[in-house]
Symmetry: C2
Subunit: 143 residues, 2 copies
């Protein structure tokens, strides 16, 4: 009954679809809307993709989920309850390394000092190559 209040307290209705979307985002980390929809369909096959999109937007508006951009591809959602982290996204193999935001503090501070810029490292990923891909002559794949 805990999440019942989470939604209602935000003035939202508690529909099965909405509950399931929130649960899916929490279980799948960094999931695309498509992936969320697949997950929800396991228990609620009739859900429509547009309902997933609308619920992701609604849940984001009330702060229960957040989106980030991990690379060339589309948006991904994660629960707000997760630790705030930056994403290192390997452009070769697609691996995502999570970096606690403290580890980036001195960098973001230097951007503030040097440019007056208040950095939000969680919103966009940091691109690059992971160790093993960097040591390879050719890129294994391009996700």
């Amino acid at each position: 009954m805990a999440e019942k209040h989470e939604l209602r307290d935000k003035g939202l209705r508690l529909t099965p679809q909405r509950e399931l979307v929130l649960a899916a985002v929490r279980e799948l980390e960094h999931a695309t809307p498509e992936e969320v929809a697949e997950k929800v369909k396991l228990t609620h096959p009739g859900i429509n993709l547009s309902t997933v999109y609308r619920n992701l937007e609604t849940l984001e508006n009330v702060g229960l989920v957040q989106h980030s951009h991990l690379g060339h591809g589309g948006v991904r959602y994660h629960a707000s309850t997760e630790e705030i982290h930056a994403h290192l996204n390997c452009e070769s193999c697609g691996t995502i390394i999570e970096v606690p935001i403290d580890a980036t503090a001195s960098f973001t501070q230097s951007l503030l000092d040097g440019y007056g810029f208040h950095t939000d490292l969680a919103h966009l990923a940091i691109a690059g190559r992971c160790e093993s891909c960097f040591n390879m002559p050719e890129a294994p794949n391009k996700p």
Copy 2:
């Protein structure tokens, strides 16, 4: 005429469309394919958008231009001749602050030391808020 050789050496042709696309990328900084097309149309109204896309890809393959992702929106292209820089993208007003890559060296080094990750800060922008937007109660706009 330097790019003439760069193109021909790869077995590529120097067409008016291709020249104009390259020129447009060089003049417009951080331009979307759509913006490049608009610019080219000023002198070559008949150019097709798919031609612009194909030429941007071709020019990137030979290393004359590069793309980066600046925010929620689509891809943007800039000439390879520009200094390598990271982009600080204000999520409120859309302003882009360019940061020389040296200014980020200690951060990328720490990601290498801590995670074995070889960072490419030019490919994805860094999101956040510029000074003036940060000091505003409400976001002026969301580009």
